[in-house]
């Protein structure tokens, strides 16, 4: 495991921003960390990169405890709400971060143009950061995070200020990095993006992890089925209700939520066995967004 947390907790007075977070991230993966605003996503990342001190619990990054300078040499971080020294040029900013990370002059000369190229800022390095657009600032932030070729990269909303083209480019950079064996911890609101690139996902709500696993595991947790049937007797409806987690009947349309797709034949059987006429039955693909909304709403009630 490149990253492991055990009961990591951050309290602000009596309020838990993060409560007993237990996570583990494998090397070479893109790990998506999702949650609504104020759920505790950034708090967790800030604890992991050393900006916040946990109230309790432990974590190990690259096998080292939190705050270890050796581990910090190998991590990259793009904060969510950040600003860089606007009086520096893009190139100077990167040189400063290279120097802060103890990179040699030769390495700096090699890496600075390479990351500028990688994030699409080549040719803009002589401009002051203050003159950059929001999207360019996001890119230069990403360049700073990538500069020292980190083994583990924390990206907090990396595409929030980017246009669709920019988002695509960032997505491609993340996939490239994964291809070269890097690990990415991605905080994002963009569920479709997470769905596209993440190997594993955890969802946090009100400071607690409410779901976690591979996307397949998470999305297989519930199956939504739509049926058209007539002549549904009371015993038929009772049997359908017993099979499903949630059922809604409107005329001949029946919508049920099952725990897994293996229950679908039993649904058809319950209708037919009890004298009903089944016209159609279809399983709806459950998206990450459906799961996310469902989990958050459940937590809110």
């Amino acid at each position: 495991m490149i990253l492991e947390t055990e009961n990591l907790t951050k309290m602000y007075g009596a309020k838990a921003a993060c409560s007993k977070i237990c996570l583990s991230v494998n090397e070479g993966q893109i790990f998506g960390f999702l949650g609504p605003n104020g759920a505790g996503k950034s708090t967790l990342v800030k604890m992991l990169v050393g900006l916040l001190f946990p109230t309790s619990g432990t974590a190990r990054i690259l096998g080292r405890p939190l705050g270890d300078l050796g581990a910090r040499r190998k991590i990259g971080y793009l904060p969510e709400n950040f600003r860089y020294q606007d009086w520096l040029t893009g190139e100077e900013l990167l040189s400063f971060h290279a120097s802060l990370r103890g990179m040699s002059g030769t390495e700096r000369k090699r890496r600075v143009p390479a990351v500028l190229e990688q994030v699409g800022l080549a040719g803009k390095e002589k401009q002051k950061v203050g003159a950059y657009s929001k999207g360019m600032q996001q890119r230069v932030g990403l360049a700073c995070a990538l500069l020292h070729d980190p083994a583990l990269l924390f990206l907090d909303e990396p595409a929030s200020a980017l246009d669709p083209l920019g988002r695509r480019e960032v997505r491609e950079i993340m996939l490239e990095l994964r291809g070269s064996g890097k690990t990415i911890f991605l905080n994002s609101h963009l569920l479709s993006e997470v769905e596209m690139i993440c190997d594993r996902v955890a969802i946090i709500n009100k400071g607690k992890i409410v779901a976690g696993g591979t996307l397949d595991e998470l999305l297989a947790q519930t199956v939504e089925v739509e049926m058209q049937a007539e002549g549904l007797t009371r015993p038929a409806l009772a049997e359908l209700a017993a099979l499903s987690k949630k059922i809604a009947v409107e005329g001949r349309y029946v919508n049920v939520v099952l725990e897994h797709s293996g229950q679908i034949p039993a649904l058809a059987e319950a209708v037919v066995k009890n004298g009903g006429r089944l016209y159609s039955l279809g399983a709806k693909h459950n998206s990450l967004e459906d799961l996310f909304v469902d989990l958050i709403q459940r937590g809110d009630h």
Binding site: L51, R72, P79, W87, L100
Partner: protein, 275 residues
């Protein structure tokens, strides 16, 4: 730490802190030079033997307002050095790097200290030269006095850096100036106390020097430059800008410990601070 020091220098230059400071200092020195030149000519005309008492007053005024300007610069430069960088997110990109938090504080302190020391030294030399060439006053060349002049802004720098670790930029600026004002007013009261023979006022002055020792350092400089052995009148004539009694070496040691203490406290607070 060198990286942080160099960045601090670059910031001072790029954000035009240095340019504005140099321009304003040049304006001050030009006005001061004109005041010394014409003021001395006018005031010394027909002053007879009292002429010798006029030039030291000009020197004391130059050093007093020079101290004020340099202390002001120290506060303005460092008042938001940590707090504003946390508020605007710059610190979020620096702290997670492989750099100790203490290095960030020490690097910034060293960067500003070097700038302030060079600036104070040049300012001190300029004031002395202006007085010497316009009045003919023989000012003893004392490295210790120059060193103390350079020490003054470091006191305010340490105060502003400590405040910057736990106060907002605005609150810190207000707090640093209030503290400086306590030192200045207390120093004035102390001198008036010496002139009026009021022990209470002298004690208030001493207590204020413990809260903010910058003024006591100024008094030490003035005493070492302008006191004439066996002639207490020389200091009395300077009024609130003079030094009724020479601050002891312990006061200087206290000032040094004050800087160190504030710096250590800043290191401690920042090392445990949630950002």
């Amino acid at each position: 730490m060198l990286t942080i020091i160099l960045l601090t220098f670059k910031e001072i230059v790029r954000r035009r802190i240095l340019l504005v400071t140099v321009i304003l200092a040049a304006v001050f020195l030009a006005l001061y030079g004109a005041a010394v030149h014409y003021g001395y000519q006018e005031m010394s005309r027909g002053a007879g033997p009292l002429k010798a008492l006029i030039a030291p007053q000009f020197l004391a005024l130059g050093l007093y307002f020079g101290s004020f300007i340099i202390s002001f610069l120290a506060v303005m430069a460092a008042v938001g050095t940590i707090s504003s960088e946390i508020e605007n997110g710059i610190m979020h990109a620096i702290v997670p790097g492989p750099v100790r938090r203490s290095t960030i504080i020490l690097g910034k302190f060293c960067g500003y200290s070097l700038m302030l020391t060079v600036f104070a030294a040049l300012f001190y030399i300029a004031v002395l030269l202006i007085v010497h060439y316009n009045t003919g006053l023989d000012i003893p060349v004392k490295a210790a006095a120059a060193g103390l002049f350079c020490l003054q802004p470091l006191i305010l720098l340490a105060v502003a850096m400590l405040g910057s670790t736990f106060l907002s930029t605005l609150a810190n600026g207000i707090a640093a100036f209030m503290l400086y004002s306590v030192g200045v007013v207390g120093g004035m009261l102390e001198q008036i106390g010496y002139l009026a023979g009021s022990n209470m006022m002298v004690n208030i002055g001493i207590a204020s020097s413990l809260l903010m020792p910058a003024d006591a350092v100024y008094r030490k400089i003035v005493y070492s430059l302008l006191s004439v052995p066996g002639a207490s009148l020389s200091m009395t004539m300077l009024g609130p800008f003079g030094s009724g009694a020479e601050p002891s070496v312990w006061m200087l040691a206290y000032a040094a410990c004050y800087i160190l203490g504030f710096l250590l406290l800043a290191l401690r607070i920042f090392s445990k601070k949630d950002i």
